[in-house]
Structure formats: structure tokens, C-alpha cells
């Protein structure tokens, strides 16, 4: 029994050890050194110095805050929109396959291409969208101060709402008909049926979707890289972009590794808290 169990687990453990474990361990080792990409010979061990520096660096916390805002806005909008679209798709009678295929398309475009496309689509002189807005008298600097982060969130919404639609549609289609029928027989309104019957049954899928998407959104890099390069000022400097600049542009890979592990610690804590809360409510 045990041999079978370990035999089944072996491939995934081995692959994870090599593909995840080793780079993680190595990156952790680097985070404890003063390693620079322009270093000669083996780097010096500096213990927790990088961590102390990073934790007291306002720029890092700014990047973290920007990323958190970005994730919060993007994922919330995607979830609400995704749910609405999924509900609509579920009830749709005709041209189902075509609509669904088309609505899923944005997910499959490499993010750097999406970023570059929107950079020009939203360009005041070259882009179609500002041209349309101007015709109704609106002038808006999409990548300007106070707007840029929001614009990037909406690029995320454009590309990833289909992901939400997919998961939520699947969730909706797996909900048993019975409770809904019962509610309808009892005379409940559509809204009531949705709020009291559908939504609770959908909660597991919603949680999974939001979790998966949030973790992915945390890694936003290509949109920033393609459009604002972190500006105006430091408004769109996300944690990934910050890490990239620190580690690869400025060669300070030891420090960048420390940033990565601080991020990991924060996210893990968050996940554990979330998980505990869900376990408790599931038990109820």
C-alpha cells in the first residue's frame, strides 16, 4: 500500500523537487548573500541584511501596495463581470459555441502582445478608443497620473474575464436543478433565487476562481513592461516589475531574491488564513 502510494507520488515529487524545490532553495541561498550579476567569484554571505533592507524600503512597500490595489480592482471586476456573463451564457439559446469561443479568445493571447496592443489602442493620436471618446467630447489620459494603474487593471479585466466566465459557467452548470426548482415553486423572485440558492452553491467554484486568478494577477509584469515601465512616477511599479529592475537591470539579484521571499511569506500567510476561515465555514 505504501509502496503504491509513494510510487504514485514519486513523479510529481521528483519533478517538483527539481523544477520548484531547487530554484527556490538556490534563490533563498542567494537572498542571504550580496550576490550581484556582475560579481566575480562566489558571493559573500550577509545573512538577513537583504531582508532588513528590503523590509524597510518604502519603494518595495509601494510596489506591494500598487500590486495589491491592482489585484483587488482587477479580480473584483472580473468576478462580477464574469458571473454576469456566465449567467447570461448559461441561459443563451442560439449561437452558443460561437459566442463562447469568441469570448474565450483574449485568454490565449500572450500578455506582452495584449499590453502592446492596448498601448497603441489607447494612444491619444493613434488609437481608436481615444478617437471615439474625443468625438463625444471626452479627453482622458489613460496612462497618465492617477489613471495608469486603473487602466492596467482594465487590461487585465479584458484578458482574464474569460477565465472567470469559464470557471463560473462550469460551476453554474454543475449546480443541481432541484433547489432552484424548489425555490421557483415556492414563488421566489429571480434575484432571491440567485442570492439564496445559486450563490451559496457556487461559493466553492468562486473561491477557486478568485484564488487562482489573484495569484496570477500578483505576477503582473508584461502589461507594465509594455506600457508604462512603472510610471508615472512609481504609480504602476508592481512587485514583479520592481523585482525585475532590481535583480536584472540593476544586477542586485541577492536583494531581488529577498523581495521575492518576502512576497511569498505574505501570500502564504494570507492563503493560510483564508484556508482556515473556509475550513471553518465549511464545517458549519
Amino acid at each position: 500500500m505504501t509502496r503504491f502510494r509513494w510510487g504514485m507520488l514519486a513523479p510529481v515529487l521528483a519533478a517538483t523537487g527539481v523544477a520548484v524545490g531547487f530554484p527556490l532553495a538556490y534563490a533563498f541561498y542567494l537572498s542571504l548573500t550580496d550576490y550581484k550579476l556582475t560579481s566575480r567569484g562566489a558571493p559573500d554571505f550577509v545573512g538577513l541584511e537583504n531582508y532588513l533592507f528590503v523590509l524597510s524600503d518604502a519603494r518595495m512597500w509601494n510596489a506591494f501596495g500598487n500590486t495589491a490595489t491592482y489585484v483587488a480592482v482587477a479580480v473584483t471586476v472580473q468576478t462580477v463581470l464574469g458571473l454576469a456573463i456566465a449567467l447570461a451564457l448559461q441561459k443563451q439559446q442560439w449561437a452558443r459555441d460561437v459566442t463562447r469561443a469568441m469570448l474565450l479568445a483574449p485568454m490565449f493571447i500572450t500578455p506582452i502582445a495584449v499590453g502592446l496592443t492596448f498601448r497603441f489602442l489607447l494612444n491619444d493620436q493613434l488609437g481608436a478608443i481615444p478617437a471615439v471618446l474625443r468625438s463625444i467630447g471626452i479627453s482622458y489620459d489613460f496612462f497618465g497620473p492617477s489613471n495608469a494603474l486603473l487602466t492596467l487593471s482594465f487590461i487585465d479585466v479584458w484578458q482574464w474575464t474569460p477565465f472567470m466566465v469559464l470557471l463560473l459557467l462550469a460551476g453554474l452548470e454543475s449546480i443541481p436543478r432541484q433547489p432552484l426548482e424548489a425555490a421557483r415553486v415556492d414563488g421566489a423572485s429571480a434575484w432571491y433565487a440567485f442570492r439564496r440558492v445559486v450563490l451559496p452553491l457556487l461559493t466553492p467554484v468562486l473561491t477557486v476562481a478568485v484564488l487562482l486568478r489573484s495569484l496570477d494577477a500578483l505576477k503582473v509584469f508584461e502589461y507594465v513592461y509594455a506600457t508604462t515601465r512603472g510610471g508615472p512616477g512609481t504609480e504602476t511599479e508592481t512587485i514583479q516589475f520592481f523585482t525585475y529592475q532590481t535583480g536584472i537591470q540593476f544586477f542586485r539579484l541577492g536583494e531581488a531574491s529577498a523581495v521575492a521571499f518576502v512576497l511569498l511569506a505574505i501570500v502564504l500567510t494570507f492563503i493560510v488564513i483564508l484556508f482556515r476561515r473556509l475550513q471553518r465555514s465549511a464545517a458549519r
Partner: protein, 434 residues
């Protein structure tokens, strides 16, 4: 201990052991000081492959076209050119240094990295080679370009092409408004404001945070009489001249630049000018042929653009240099190619094809002057290259540029005052380049 815990423990131990072993390879780049064969004149029967990593710019295309000609002199040397966009190229270049196995035999180095690469021992010193190559005439290179290859008195590269900036403008619009090319900072501001009408702006600016905004603004700084560093190499960004320059920059941006252009970089500005929506821009001198190309983005407007030095006569310069990595697979062959392509005769060919010049003699050569981009263009380039300075000096060049570029962006966005932004920029540079 249960089977599970034991298995877990052993896999952790294994990973740890593996990590420590391979971590011994961290920073496994060169550990001794680099040496060079010092050979200048490479025999024409040399065999080998030269793998080059280059940035995908017009000048790289021109180099690629000249490889055939190179092979007539050196038939045994095979040249393989890999061409990537700037950021990708830099990332791959850095990655290639980590290996003791040669990845590239010849590279091009951007000026902000020069000091860092030399300090890291990545590059082969080239003094011996340069001095022993017959008829090479290294004194013919433009001085700012040579300064960039010189680190602590030793040359580590030879110039590939320059990207000095200049003022690109529409001659017809200027004539129509009865204006002359600006010669002072105030004239620049008033000109672009005067040229702004309801369907066109005076100047397309590039205030994107980071490299672009610093590269553009530094020209304004020079025009205001300021400088980035003083003679001792200390930063001088927090000066009255810098404040005047930044205020002028912001004023131009708010009154004479296209609406909603706070994130614009080269692309957007270039298209704005080539489509006629802006009358001028500050950009690399070799963009002029592109603007005047009837098959290019300008369409009907081709031919109406001209190039002038910046007001005040001093401008920002960037430069790429050929360099030989210490882990080059064939440094003699690499020198054969780089010395050939930077020789006087070949530089003339490069410039006729549209490349950016590196030798003074090239720009006064008769066949170059009559080749079709116009004498005025070459005169302007000579003027530009006679007084140009790079954005960064010393170690940490790239970080310094990004730091200043971020502060400037804050000032333009209005999140910091001009004084605050400049004083923060000064502090950042002092910290980075301590």
C-alpha cells in the same frame, strides 16, 4: 520516524545537498583578471566562428549586410549575428556572462553598462590590439565615443554607432511661422508654443518614466547651462539651472505637447511627428533619414524634416561599442571583424547605407556627402557630436538613469515639486554611485 517523514526529510536533504553543490557555481564568471593576446593585425586566413549578440536597430541591419564583404577579406571566419530588442538583448547578455562556456564571441555594449562590465571583469582590454592594428587611425573616432570606451585609462571597446540626440523639426512649418531654429532654452519653449495650433502641437515629447524622460530632459538641462556631473564626477542635479530646465520642460509639456501624452516614448512621438500632428521632436540624429523616407511613416510629409543641434549646442549622447567578452570563443576572429567594421573605409560604406558615423573623416568624405541624405544632415551631425555627453558615468549607470528618470516623471506628473524631485534625484545618484 514514520515513512512519510523519513521520505520528506531525505528529499529535503537531497535538495539541500544539490543546492549547495551547484551554488558553488554562483558567480562562476571570471575569477582572474582578463588578458588579451594583444594581436592587432589578424591574419586573413584565420578560421573560426564569431557569434555576435546585437540590438535590433537599423545599424545592425547594415552590419549584417556588410558581412559578405567582410568574408571577401576573411573567408575563413563565419559571422553569426543574433539580433534582439534592447531589454531582451541586455537580459541575454547578462545571462551569457554567467557561463564559463563561451556564448558569444563579440558583443556590443551600451554606454551605461561599460563601467559595470569592466569592473566585473567581463571585457577584454583592447589597448594593445588597437595600437597594433595597421592603418586603424583610432584618433579619428569622435572623442565622446572614445571617452565612453575608456575606463580608468584603458580602452575596452571600439565605437559601433552613436545615438546622439538632436532637434528634428518640420522646415515648412518653421518657415511658415517665420521662426528660426531655437538657439537658447527660452527660444525653444517660445517656438514650440508659437507653433502649437488647434490641429497640431509644437513638439511631441517623451516623458515616459525612466530612460526616455531623462534622455530628453538632459538636453534641456544642458541648454539651461547645467550639467549632470561636475569635473570631479559628482552629480549636479540639484542646481538652479536644473530647476530652470525642469520648469521649462514642464511648461512645454503642458502647453505645447500633445494632449494625454504623459506616457509617450519614442514610438508615439515619432508617429505624431511623421503624421503631421506635431511640428518637432527631440530624438536620435539618425532618425532623420527615416522621417524623410517617402516609403516610411511620413508618407507625403517625407522630405520636409531637418536636423539641428540642441539650443546651446550641447546634447545628450548614447553610444554602443564593440567589445570582446573574456569568455569569447575566438577573440582574434572577433577583433578581426570589429576592427574591420570600424575601419575608415567600411565606416564610409556604413554611413552611406544610412548608419550612424563614428569617425570624423567619414562625415567630411566626398562620397558620403553626395550620397543623398544631404550635406546639411551631415553638418548637423558633426556639430552634434562635437559637444555631446552621456547620461551616466561610472558604476551603476543603469540604476542611476532609472532613479533620475523616476524623479523627473514625478515632477511632470505633479506628484512632486520641481525642487523636491531634483533634490531626491541628486540624493539617489549620490547613493547609487557612492
Amino acid at each position: 520516524m514514520s515513512t512519510r517523514s523519513r521520505a520528506l526529510l531525505s528529499s529535503v536533504a537531497l535538495t539541500a545537498a544539490l543546492t549547495l553543490t551547484i551554488s558553488g557555481c554562483a558567480g562562476s564568471g571570471p575569477t582572474e583578471d582578463p588578458v588579451s593576446s594583444g594581436l592587432g593585425d589578424i591574419p586573413t586566413d584565420t578560421e573560426g566562428t564569431v557569434r555576435i549578440l546585437m540590438e535590433s536597430v537599423p545599424d545592425t541591419d547594415i552590419v549584417t549586410e556588410l558581412v559578405g564583404s567582410f568574408n571577401e577579406t576573411y573567408p575563413g571566419i563565419e559571422v553569426e549575428i543574433e539580433s534582439l530588442a534592447f531589454d531582451q538583448m541586455r537580459d541575454k547578455l547578462i545571462a551569457s556572462f554567467q557561463s564559463s562556456d563561451p556564448a558569444y564571441d563579440l558583443i556590443v555594449v551600451d554606454n551605461p553598462w561599460m563601467d559595470d562590465f569592466v569592473d566585473a571583469g567581463f571585457l577584454e582590454p583592447l589597448d594593445a590590439r588597437i595600437d597594433s592594428t595597421t592603418d586603424y587611425a583610432p584618433e579619428d573616432f569622435f572623442e565622446p565615443l572614445v571617452d565612453i570606451t575608456d575606463v580608468d585609462g584603458v580602452r575596452y571597446g571600439v565605437p559601433f554607432y552613436n545615438y546622439a540626440l538632436g532637434y528634428l523639426y518640420r522646415t515648412d512649418i518653421y518657415d511658415e511661422a517665420g521662426l528660426e531654429v531655437p538657439e537658447t532654452l527660452d527660444e525653444l519653449v517660445s517656438n514650440v508654443q508659437a507653433l502649437t495650433t488647434s490641429d497640431r502641437t509644437g513638439i511631441a515629447m517623451q516623458p515616459q518614466r525612466g530612460y526616455k524622460i531623462f534622455e530628453e530632459w538632459a538636453n534641456w538641462l544642458f541648454a539651461a547651462g547645467g550639467s549632470i556631473y561636475d569635473e570631479s564626477g559628482a552629480p549636479t542635479l540639484d542646481t538652479p539651472e536644473a530647476a530652470a530646465a525642469l520648469e521649462a520642460y514642464i511648461e512645454s509639456f503642458t502647453t505645447a505637447a500633445p494632449e494625454n501624452s504623459s506616457n509617450w516614448a519614442f514610438d508615439e512621438a515619432f508617429r505624431s511627428v511623421s503624421s503631421g500632428e506635431s511640428a518637432s521632436m527631440i530624438s536620435y540624429n539618425w532618425n532623420l533619414p527615416g522621417l524623410n523616407d517617402p516609403e516610411g511613416a511620413s508618407g507625403d510629409l517625407a522630405g520636409s524634416f531637418a536636423l539641428a543641434p540642441m539650443p546651446g549646442g550641447k546634447q545628450v549622447l548614447g553610444s554602443w561599442s564593440w567589445a570582446i567578452p573574456v569568455n569569447s570563443g575566438n577573440s582574434d576572429a572577433a577583433w578581426a571583424f570589429s576592427s574591420w567594421i570600424t575601419s575608415s573605409a567600411v565606416d564610409i560604406e556604413r554611413v552611406i547605407a544610412g548608419g550612424a558615423a563614428i569617425r570624423e573623416s567619414t562625415l567630411s568624405n566626398a562620397s558620403v556627402l553626395e550620397s543623398g541624405f544631404g550635406e546639411d544632415y551631415y553638418d548637423a551631425v558633426i556639430a552634434i557630436l562635437s559637444d555631446a555627453a552621456p547620461l551616466s558615468q561610472g558604476l551603476g549607470g543603469e540604476e542611476m538613469i532609472q532613479a533620475v528618470g523616476t524623479e523627473l516623471s514625478e515632477a511632470v506628473a505633479g506628484t512632486k515639486t520641481v525642487e523636491q524631485a531634483l533634490s531626491d534625484a541628486q540624493a539617489a545618484v549620490e547613493r547609487i554611485q557612492r
